[in-house]
Symmetry: C2
Subunit: 343 residues, 2 copies
Amino acid sequence: MEKLPTIKEIAKRLNVSVSTVSRALSDHPRIGLGTKLKIKQLAEELGYEPNAQAIFFKQKKTFVIGVVIPFIREEFFSQAISGIEAAAMEHQYTILFGQSHDDPEREKAVVEAMKKQRVDGLIISLSKQTNKYEHLEALNKFEIPVVYFDRVPPFKEAHKVFCNLYKGTVDMVGWLFNKGYRRIAFINGPDKLNASKERMNGYIEGISKQKLKVDMQMVEKTDLSKESTHNAMKKLLALKHPPTAIITFNDYVHMDAVQFAQKQNILVNKDIVFVSYANLPITSYTAFPPLVSVEQYPYGQGERAMELMIKILNEKTDNKIINTSFYVEEMPATLVAYQQTIS
Amino acid sequence: MEKLPTIKEIAKRLNVSVSTVSRALSDHPRIGLGTKLKIKQLAEELGYEPNAQAIFFKQKKTFVIGVVIPFIREEFFSQAISGIEAAAMEHQYTILFGQSHDDPEREKAVVEAMKKQRVDGLIISLSKQTNKYEHLEALNKFEIPVVYFDRVPPFKEAHKVFCNLYKGTVDMVGWLFNKGYRRIAFINGPDKLNASKERMNGYIEGISKQKLKVDMQMVEKTDLSKESTHNAMKKLLALKHPPTAIITFNDYVHMDAVQFAQKQNILVNKDIVFVSYANLPITSYTAFPPLVSVEQYPYGQGERAMELMIKILNEKTDNKIINTSFYVEEMPATLVAYQQTIS
DNA sequence: TCAGCATGCGCAAACGATTGTGCAGCTTTA
DNA sequence: TAAAGCTGCACAATCGTTTGCGCATGCTGA
């Protein structure tokens, strides 16, 4: 069992100083060619690799970015993290991973742990329940930049990457209208989510734009649990004039809604058509994927969030001038019709 | 913008030495009560938190475990990583995350990056293509323990956690036999995967146990791509006596196989029944989930892998005696009938 | 009264690497 | 031929923290 070789070890074996070894390995011009060669050869032999911990410790930089998301098992987030990882690798960064499980306490604990690890920055998609931001503002105070993505905070003073679903929702209502649907219902998410407000505004605008009347009986809410969604469906189906089209908050709500409709012997996408958000690959395997989806590009969001982070970090080291402005990146949400892979 | 406070800063403000501050904060008995109080109070005020980078650097420990998996988007792995994370948090460890994308080159690159970050240990599920292990043996050489899970290497000299699917497969064949099926086909994964061999042996044993004859025409292979699975299905359906039951390598192969069957206007689970491995939550949303599945407990595997890792690390610090034996943990794979949630 | 011990704290080395400075010895140039 | 410049290397400080050792001071007991 060998120890990982150090610069010291090389110096001792070759009877030179550690500084000479350090400079030789980084091709410093003031080191003689012969010495360089000897050193590099021995380094190669020993399988020397610089101790990142030591370097980063001295440079006060770790090249580690913390990433906190609600649930990795949600495909949206696993795709997002893939985008983050891809961008990170390209710039020699590594990522520390943590889940909040949509619990603010756990979110706080994870963020603390990452702060202890002295991550260079934090990329986070907030937990549904998060309404206090002290644990995150604490990071700002200590010059650890935070980039939010998808589930971003309501205030302006933050770097964010997100999809604005307003326009996508307007388009979706328009699409349904053009297909002849008039009784368009909407199962929205929790009020406090920004994403819910955007969708809601888009829905109202979309309905109005088609000269239809907004009927609040057609709007239900779910806390995103299966029971809650089933409950919303129950109410919609009990209406005197039940909807002929249902827009659901996301693909998971979609699947739960479809499940409920089937239980009621409703012919999905015949009696009632279902459309949704997210366009996740798994839906292509389900019996009744949304006829049309608002694509939110999770991979792209993750990628952009990471690139933004790197940009911020570079600015921090380059200019000593503290940049007090915040980056806000709004990505387009586009309407995607379901690709018929079956039959 | 404040800097993160250091022990030095506290020492300067209180006109004591850094060693006194360090000892005071860790309740050393030789530090006076009054001094301790003053120091602790100021530390609290400044929001002091020890610089983990510095401590770990000195202690040659990072409390970071590298985790490398093929694809986070596969539910099996996202569940596994949740188990790993849960166990890690419980013991104050954090996890560095990387994906191999089933590419040995990328796997190597990720492992190298983690080695540079001086992770305390590495938990890995091998890429499908990995058949050289130098990049991982390099870690062993430098006393960075490696725990493999699920996709484990063929050799003995390794810590492993996995499900042996042999018995599960025997049981599955038995289940089908009891239900009256006799022409039981099998779409297996790539030969080089251990998991394929286990399943194959189980299949053969299962068939023989029921006094049926093993018909190699009933056994097809897939490289796990959709095309390859469709191709395997094509061959099976073209047989003079096509199967009445099909065992697929995993839930993704299952979904692709079902998709193909539907294209051929075959009544799934009526003309042919499909059974599979993994029992992933998403299959409950699909039109035709496997009638029965061999549950592989990804969360449990991840959890156990992490616990094993911590055990190994503790042994390393406790006894200076190097433990040369390897831990091999075989988890039971149990047969699970599909929970009918629809209708 | 003084050795001996406990108390309370500071000094300095160490972890692995980077980097400014200094100092030889050699070569160049006026 | 001596000042000036270049070449090739070593020394030492530094990052934040821990920890063995040592040095005062005050107290105890014989």
